[in-house]
Symmetry: C2
Subunit: 270 residues, 2 copies
């Protein structure tokens, strides 16, 4: 792989995806990916700015951080950009009252949001709550609106738990988009708005930042479309075919976060 020094020139900040990069989810919370706890610590000591940018919509930001800390990561809630808080901001700005089809674990993020007489639907990674009944309820709310508005907490296709691949929110977004003949408003990766929010919070420009993720489309493609560089790790939902993806070419592939950080610390001009 030629010219890492060139590829990593001028970097000032790093956005880290969480699930599949730092740890693999599963029963009992999850398991840190070998080397990643230390990699985050080394990155934070390096002088590069670091921020976590996740599409997690099963856990509140607080619960997410608590789990990460239990797994040994040095992280605080203020360092995480996540879709639910971003969606709440949007709902408030636009005076929207959501019907929520979200995971029980994230419901409390919407405390204080008016959910009476809903005039939109918010769809998160609801997992078991993606029942036929609940999908029909969300669908009917949309169909009764003169202009159906669907807000999606991400467009993920699937994720990997220790028990196997699981359908992510994006699949269910497509189901409702098709049934209603509409397009969802996406809050989360790969929405440019969301990456821009993360960059503002990181405090660097797009051309000074690199995204490290396991999702070739959501992380790598999304970040690149915003003018960032992006590496894909070969952990989490990575599949070998991603390295020949028809639409997205990562700026580099690394086996895991530890290798990514080795490269950043070696080649980035800090």
């Amino acid at each position: 792989m030629a010219a890492w020094a060139e590829k990593l020139a001028g970097l000032r900040g790093v956005l880290l995806d969480i699930s599949g990069v730092l740890y693999d989810g599963g029963e009992g919370g999850g398991t840190a990916i070998p080397g990643s706890v230390d990699a985050v610590a080394r990155l934070k000591r390096s002088g590069l700015r670091v921020r976590f940018c996740t599409n997690e919509s099963q856990k509140t930001r607080g619960a997410q951080v608590q789990l990460m800390r239990q797994l040994g990561f040095d992280v605080s809630e203020e360092e995480v950009t996540a879709p639910a808080p971003a969606a709440c901001q949007l709902l408030r700005e636009q005076g929207l009252r959501p019907h929520l089809l979200v995971h029980e674990g994230i419901r409390s993020e919407f405390d204080g949001i008016d959910t009476s007489s809903p005039n939109c639907v918010v769809l998160g990674d609801a997992a078991e709550a993606f029942s036929f009944h609940n999908m029909n309820m969300a669908f009917r709310v949309l169909m009764e609106l003169p202009k159906p508005k669907l807000i999606a907490l991400g467009t993920g296709r699937y994720y990997k738990e220790t028990s196997g691949l699981m359908l992510d929110v994006g699949a269910y977004v497509k189901a409702l988009e098709y049934a209603c003949g509409i397009q969802a408003h996406v809050v989360g990766k790969p929405s440019p708005e969301f990456f821009k929010l993360a960059l503002r919070e990181l405090g660097v420009e797009a051309h000074q930042a690199i995204m490290i993720g396991d999702d070739i489309v959501g992380d790598v493609g999304g970040a690149q479309r915003c003018g960032m560089r992006a590496l894909q790790v070969r952990t989490g939902k990575f599949r070998p075919s991603d390295e020949q993806h028809p639409e997205v070419t990562a700026d580099g592939h690394v086996d895991n976060l530890a290798e990514a950080v080795d490269l950043l610390l070696k080649h980035a001009t800090l």
Copy 2:
């Protein structure tokens, strides 16, 4: 509405959608739409050929016909073109072994089909069986195949039961298509193959046939793309906005099947 006689010239056969045209589904089976039992009887006496063309994938053809007969319709199993028997034919021809995500009520249509070591997924209108767990099972089968093959029993967006609108198989097809990055092979309306099968069974050419349905895209648009004429009834899943649909313009709108048959009997040159 000008020139019904012109619009209906040269007709020799009629394809009738079932649900939403003949009856509305719901608890206890369903309710005949007023005038439709008599309309079918009059049509059959008229000299026009008549066939039923349905995307029903919750009931076997036998159970469907039994329900229709209970509601008073003159119909036999041989008069119905339905996706599950057509899919079984395809599975046999192509040596495919399906993982079935279908409604319990239609499972017996697949008796005699080898379902060991599945090399494709067949998705029907599984209704309550569209759980997160079952969708993940189907998804994992697809993702383990070198070339994932998804066979969809129709592409319906939604249907109406007495309890309200329900998501149809098409929505769940879109979810799996998106998650896997594939396109389903559709058996059922609006697939041209399926309309052609119905026309062969009806025994008339496309230009001699008219489709009567409640679905502006699946029935009307699909039939027209095959060279048939098509009327939309204002029953079932009809919505007023269908009359200004951006892509499909029906050859005519009628309040219900009874009105359609009145027009056919008055204007078609028999």
